[in-house]
């Protein structure tokens, strides 16, 4: 098969996309199961794209960097004494803290304008921030695991790892967000 034939591209990407579709669908299901909360607090819907989007982007970048470093041999597929791996995860972590603080602040403003009151707005902002931190940590772990797996098995780091990471990021983002809101706001 030619490298860029239609058949080849379909053959290589289709199975991965099906897996991704299933994972993302379950993210939708999680969201669907909580229609009551969303009705009570429609602002949740506004929070879903940022938490998923940022989470997935940050982890895709991490995944690509890890794949390069693994193939070069700057990182070994192990968690022990990996200086370069730690530097990468630290950077990713710091980056997401910075971005999510900024987004949380915007949600605070939006909630305030929507007339939720200062106390409830702060709580909502914190809920979003904590949810995003938990989601990013979990997604990063998955990313590292998948990057190791793709290196040891010789899977395509771009066509397999990144789509799956983003799908997993979707489900983790939505789940963490809804749980956090349930705990903090109790709706």
């Amino acid at each position: 098969m030619a490298v860029y034939s239609l058949r080849r591209i379909l053959w290589e990407s289709y199975p991965v996309l099906v897996v991704c579709a299933v994972i993302s669908l379950s993210a939708g299901l999680v969201l669907d199961s909580q229609t009551e909360s969303i009705k009570a607090l429609p602002l949740i819907l506004m929070m879903v794209p940022p938490i998923n989007g940022i989470n997935n982007n940050v982890c895709s970048i991490l995944g690509a960097r890890l794949a390069s470093a693994l193939h070069m041999g700057m990182i070994e597929p192990s968690f022990k004494r990996q200086r370069v791996l730690r530097a990468n995860t630290n950077a990713t972590w710091l980056m997401s803290v910075a971005v999510f603080w900024f987004t949380s602040a915007i949600f605070f403003a939006v909630a305030l304008i929507a007339g939720m009151g200062v106390a409830r707005s702060v709580v909502l902002m914190l809920a979003f921030f904590i949810a995003s931190m938990v989601a990013i940590a979990a997604t990063m772990l998955c990313t590292i695991g998948l990057a190791f797996l793709s290196f040891t098995k010789g899977l395509d780091p771009d066509n397999v790892v990144i789509p799956i990471v983003t799908s997993i990021g979707d489900i983790l983002g939505v789940t963490c967000l809804l749980i956090a809101i349930k705990i903090v706001i109790g709706v």
Partner: protein, 387 residues
């Protein structure tokens, strides 16, 4: 031909194996020529095939790893080094072909190899010697006496090269390389007498050039690796300079060989001299392609330094501190090659480099040394230099 299947070894791991293999192959090839030994020659051939395999693997891994122009640029330097290591291995393969094809080897080759700075010797281990029963990794020969074991013959079978866990038994014949004094110490440890065959010196000019060329190729290759490790233009230019010296000797040697051909009855034997020289030239050309990376100002990927610090024989950079016991002593007094198995390639003093330092060269505090040695040897040197 073997198919190339995916194996998860990184560019770094493959590069380490390639450098180790090509270093070993050079030593084995000279040992095979000197001893006219087909087993060692055979092993060199096997390693040559292994190197081909590794070259494919490193290209695959590098292609996957490169994700942007910057990274790709840094990786080309590494691929250049890898292909130089492969070129060196091909040259050694050609050298041992002389033996495997049953060609006559001129005695001057053997004499030239014996006259080079780094000696190759066969040491028979006697009953009750202190070496017996010990494993190679316990003996740490490279860092204690500067001697590396290349091959061991036990009964009729050969172990090429002996591994860490190979033990030494009475009756073993060890093929080793190292400084003359170090080999002397090893002979005592093995309870063996060191017998020096007298050198007949039938073709003194050819022998002289040839042994000098062997030393030069070693120095050129080591310096080439260090030039890239340190990103040093000066060292790279020195490699070019040595290369020129090599070419002059090469020219002289061809002339001498052709002159000798008029007198010599056995032309086939003389042909072997030219063949060996041709292979040495390929080795020095390979080193030249390594320094090309430095002279072009290609930034090298940091994985290279990591790889070079994990090879069997390492090239490294050591600073001599004020408190160091090395300061104020001459290289002859220190004899680091035997005492620590660390061979000093370059002394960097202030802005200028002293290449091929002589025995009466005094080390001073503040000097930077570029040295080659085993891991433990290099550690020893670093400790001494730190004081």
């Amino acid at each position: 031909m073997k198919n190339i299947t995916y194996r998860p070894s990184s560019v770094r791991e493959i590069l380490i194996e390639m450098k180790n293999t090509s270093d070993l192959m050079v030593d084995l090839a000279y040992a095979a020529l000197m001893l006219e030994n087909t087993e060692i020659a055979q092993r060199v051939h096997e390693l040559e095939r292994r190197m081909d395999d590794l070259m494919y693997r490193i290209r695959i891994m590098a292609a996957v790893a490169a994700r942007n122009v910057n990274e790709a640029k840094k990786i080309t330097g590494i691929l250049q080094v890898a292909s130089a290591a492969e070129a060196i291995s091909n040259a050694t393969g050609d050298m041992v072909d002389l033996i495997l094809r049953g060609m006559e080897i001129h005695p001057v080759i053997r004499e030239a190899i014996r006259c080079a700075d780094e000696k190759i010797a066969v040491v028979g281990v006697q009953r009750g010697a202190m070496l017996t029963g010990k494993k190679f990794h316990e003996l740490r020969l490279p860092s204690t006496i500067g001697v590396w074991a290349l091959a061991a013959k036990r009964g009729k079978s050969w172990v090429v090269p002996p591994t860490r866990d190979t033990d030494v038994r009475a009756g073993d014949m060890l093929v080793v390389r190292g400084p003359s004094d170090g080999i002397g110490i090893l002979c005592r440890m093995a309870g063996a007498h060191r017998k020096e065959e007298p050198i007949k010196g039938t073709l003194p000019l050819i022998q002289d050039s040839l042994s000098h060329m062997r030393d030069l190729t070693d120095a050129i290759v080591d310096l080439a690796y260090s030039s890239i490790l340190l990103g040093s233009r000066e060292v790279a230019e020195e490699v070019r300079g040595l290369e020129e010296e090599f070419d002059k000797l090469n020219y002289k040697l061809w002339l001498e060989t052709l002159k000798a051909a008029k007198r010599e009855r056995n032309i086939a034997q003389l042909n072997s001299v030219l063949q060996v020289v041709k292979c040495m030239e390929k080795i020095s050309d390979a080193a030249d392609s390594i320094v090309d990376v430095v002279l072009r100002g290609v930034e090298i990927h940091p994985v290279f330094a990591r790889a070079l610090s994990e090879t069997d024989e390492q090239v490294t950079h050591v600073d001599v501190s004020k408190r160091s016991p090395l300061a104020g002593k001459t290289l002859g007094e220190l004899n680091l090659w035997v005492a620590a198995g660390a061979y000093i390639l370059v002394i960097k003093r202030g802005e200028h480099h002293i290449f091929e330092p002589t025995k009466d060269m005094k080390l001073m505090a503040g000097d930077s040394l570029i040295a080659r040695g085993s891991y433990y040897g290099v550690q020893k040197l670093k400790k001494l230099a730190a004081g």
